[in-house]
């Protein structure tokens, strides 16, 4: 096997390094991008990329790819498991329609030129399960974000205004769960669900604790920023899926106002499409995307991702257990409720997005509005897989954001409700190819705090995608079908310097790293010991049995801060 590559004559777009569609060569050695001089005298494999687009491998910063939620989804949706994607041969058996098995997840990302994906909601007590599943996903680098927003420990330290202990607890929890960062899902709301309720504003009191969602969010931001974690607080807002929720979203975004970080945002708000509804009922519902975009564009320390729905099958699965119950009541579809002790909960409900359904069409339009109206340096392309649909349709979203003509065609197929309830038909914006590459590579890498990802500069991981698209010639406004087709199947997907897929065919398999963040050196772990011992009386496991040891993981990559 060659351990050096020379990608020749490709047209490179590398937004982080200011490369805008320039013909240049890329050199790879030992899994990293290197200078040409480094590969002199090596056994170099040359890849001719003449007239092809060469970019960094895609980075999916928010997807649900491992853990008890997706696995329960698979169990309760056998009908999702009838699409055979690969028969066991040189590669693993892989099945799934939208809900994929673990190998299928890795393979489908690889075929598309994506090389990293982050599991966005890990129930801490289920960490072992999540890592077992992450370890069963080939081809990509990965990590998991444990959920903190409804954990009794967090409520307790926020209530006591004890940021030091909160920081210590976060460091402890990330170490125990081998987690990457702090995810917050409907803060306080899932605890209220334990009593059959929810929270309806940032200032509702959480049952049993003298804290509010506002205090939970700001305390966690403060703690994460003082710890200097790679990634900021990653927030699924309160009131998800409720008409009128866009006001809460805007109020929440503004909570970041008091904080700053030179390297990245201090708050990432996720799948905002589900939190961008105006109106006061499903009859009067309309888009709140424009107002959210105004707020986002006026702030420099918040980022979002879209949560774009794709027409067709999906499965709603979130840590937002009360929302999932509401969805079940709304659609009558199957429902599974999950309880993770004093940490939070989750729910799962099958879903189909239908173009002629006014609400689904509205959701689809809002996702696109957010992608188009918000500054490309602040919005990442996601479908919140599998909540909004398959990640394999990212190329559809990419093409749509770049072509008004394509949007006009699609608008004719959807419910006319979007004409009056959204501004999508009037939006002329067409993102450039460079912006789209940024929204799928360099931006998510920056948001996650991974300097070696999302770009092609010397020293970066050699995660590279080559597409059959010449950026110097392509007219992205009119040739949207070509754009879609090109991004759907990478001509080459290279991960850590190894060619994994070629023209949609898998050629090699690798096992990526699992990143986790070790912040225990920044805090005094003794400070919370008595609290841990006390609280573990309420757990179904003993403190010494809680968590995941590093040696249990296939390829752990510890990031010490």
């Amino acid at each position: 096997m060659h351990h050096a590559l020379h990608i020749k004559n490709g047209i490179v777009i590398d937004p982080k390094n200011g490369v805008k569609a320039e013909k240049m060569d890329i050199f790879v050695k030992d899994g990293k991008i290197v200078e040409e001089s480094e590969v002199k005298g090596e056994d170099v494999k040359v890849i001719d990329a003449s007239n092809k687009l060469v970019v960094a491998g895609g980075v999916d910063m928010h997807a649900h790819i491992a853990g008890s939620k997706i696995n329960t989804g698979r169990t309760m949706r056998p009908e999702e498991m009838r699409v055979v994607r690969n028969i066991a041969n040189k590669f693993r058996a892989a099945v799934g329609r939208v809900l994929l098995t673990s190998p299928a997840i890795g393979y489908e990302y690889a075929k598309m030129g994506y090389t990293s994906s982050f599991e966005a909601a890990q129930p801490p007590i289920g960490a072992m399960h999540t890592h077992e599943e992450l370890d069963a996903i080939p081809m990509i680098d990965k990590a998991a974000l444990p959920v903190f927003g409804n954990w009794h420990f967090v409520f307790k330290y926020v209530e006591a205004k004890d940021i030091e202990k909160l920081k210590t607890f976060i460091a402890w929890a990330l170490e125990r769960t081998k987690g990457f960062g702090v995810k917050v899902v409907n803060p306080g709301g899932v605890e209220a669900w334990m009593y059959g309720g929810n929270v309806t504003s940032l200032d509702d009191q959480v049952p049993g604790f003298n804290v509010t969602p506002r205090e939970i969010i700001t305390s966690l931001i403060k703690a994460v920023e003082e710890l200097k974690l790679n990634h900021s607080v990653h927030l699924h807002c309160n009131r998800l899926g409720v008409p009128g929720n866009y006001e809460t979203t805007i109020e929440t975004i503004k909570l970041a106002g008091g904080f700053s970080n030179d390297a990245r945002q201090v708050l990432h708000v996720t799948h905002v499409q589900f939190n961008a509804y105006a109106g006061d009922s499903w009859r009067t519902v309309s888009s709140g995307a424009e107002e959210i975009a105004k707020t986002m564009n006026s702030m420099d320390n918040v980022t979002i991702d879209m949560g774009q729905p794709i027409f067709g099958h999906a499965t709603a699965m979130t840590g937002d257990a009360p929302f999932q119950f509401t969805l079940h009541k709304l659609t009558g579809a199957r429902w599974s409720n999950k309880d993770s002790e004093v940490e939070g909960g989750a729910g799962i409900v099958p879903l189909v997005y239908l173009p002629k359904n006014p609400v689904h069409a509205l959701q689809w339009a809002i996702g696109l509005e957010l992608g188009l109206l918000i500054d490309s340096d602040k919005v990442v392309l996601t479908t919140d897989y599998p909540n909004g649909g398959p990640f394999t349709e990212y190329p559809y979203v990419m093409a749509m954001l770049m072509s008004k003509k394509m949007r006009e065609g699609e608008l004719e197929k959807v419910s006319p409700f979007v004409q009056k309830a959204t501004n999508l038909p009037a939006i002329d914006t067409e993102k450039t190819l460079e912006e789209i590459i940024h929204m799928t590579r360099s931006l998510p890498a920056r948001i996650l705090g991974l300097p070696q990802k999302g770009h092609l500069g010397v020293g970066a991981d050699a995660d590279i995608a080559i597409y059959d698209l010449n950026p110097l010639e392509i007219d992205t406004s009119n040739d949207f079908e070509k754009v879609y087709k090109a991004f759907k199947t990478a001509e080459y997907t290279i991960k850590s310097g190894r060619i994994l897929a070629k023209n949609g065919e898998l050629v090699d398999e690798c096992w990526g790293k699992t990143y986790w963040v070790d912040a225990t050196g920044r805090v005094d772990m003794e400070a919370i010991k008595p609290d841990l011992e006390d609280y573990f009386k309420y757990y179904s496991v003993e403190l010494q049995n809680y968590g995941v040891e590093e040696e249990w993981l296939k390829k752990p990559e510890r990031i010490v801060i």
Binding site: M76, P78, E79, E80, I87
Partner: protein
């Protein structure tokens, strides 16, 4: 007419979506038809002897097909005669035509079938005319006749058509049924759980869920789901 005969006893199951459409091809082409033998894709001609007699749209499966699955899957016209027994999923998603099985049929006979006719001279196993796991609707049209006995789960989520069993059947008859008719001449176990509509007629003994209301000559339920299904004696 095409006659298909197994060359050997199969060590693992064969998955072969054999439909009468095959009879319209020439023998060379039929032999190249792709089927699964375990996890390997093989050509039909490697596992079976194939001969052609005349031009009618008919398959004769001559021999033991009890390890051959998906016979007649999605067929829409023509006829299949199985001289022996047949494996699982025979006639699944069937939309028309006729299948006659001279021996026994394995699980999932006529699952989610929409139209056409299936006749089993021997017994049928479980899950006759049911919906596949996760799907909302089972058999929605056509007729299945079983001369012998049948197993558990008959017509789950069935929405139309008729299943007739001349012998006895097992438990869970017409669970979540939404339409159509099930006739059982002999005895059976539990009947009508979460039944919403349709009719079940039974000749012998059976056990009814307690959530059915006795009316003049029938029971109506399942009241648990506000159902108006009818269970009556033949």
């Amino acid at each position: 007419m095409i006659i298909i005969k197994p060359k050997t006893e199969f060590v693992v199951t064969v998955e072969a979506e054999l439909t009468p459409d095959l009879a319209e091809k020439d023998v060379g082409e039929i032999k190249k038809f792709k089927v699964y033998y375990g996890k390997d894709v093989v050509e039909l001609g490697e596992l079976f002897e194939i001969t052609k007699e005349g031009d009618d749209k008919k398959l004769v499966l001559d021999g033991d097909f009890s390890r051959v699955k998906w016979v007649g899957c999605r067929m829409s016209d023509g006829e299949i005669v199985v001289k022996g027994s047949v494996g699982a999923n025979c006639g699944a998603y069937m939309a028309g035509g006729k299948i006659v099985i001279e021996g026994d049929a394995d699980d999932w006979l006529g699952a989610e079938m929409k139209d056409g006719e299936i006749v089993v001279k021997g017994d049928a196993a479980n899950l006759v005319g049911c919906a596949y796991y996760g799907d909302a609707t089972g058999m929605s049209g056509g007729k299945i006749t079983i001369e012998g006995n049948a197993g558990n789960y008959i017509g789950e989520k069935m929405a139309g058509g008729e299943i007739e069993i001349k012998g006895n059947a097992g438990d869970f008859i017409g669970t979540e049924m939404k339409g159509g008719t099930i006739v059982i001449h002999g005895n059976c176990g539990f009947v009508g759980g979460d039944m919403k509509a349709g009719e079940i007629k039974i000749g012998g003994e059976f056990e009814l869920m307690p959530t059915f209301v006795k009316q003049e000559d029938a029971w109506v339920g399942d009241v648990n789901v506000k159902g108006e299904g009818v269970v009556r004696r033949l």
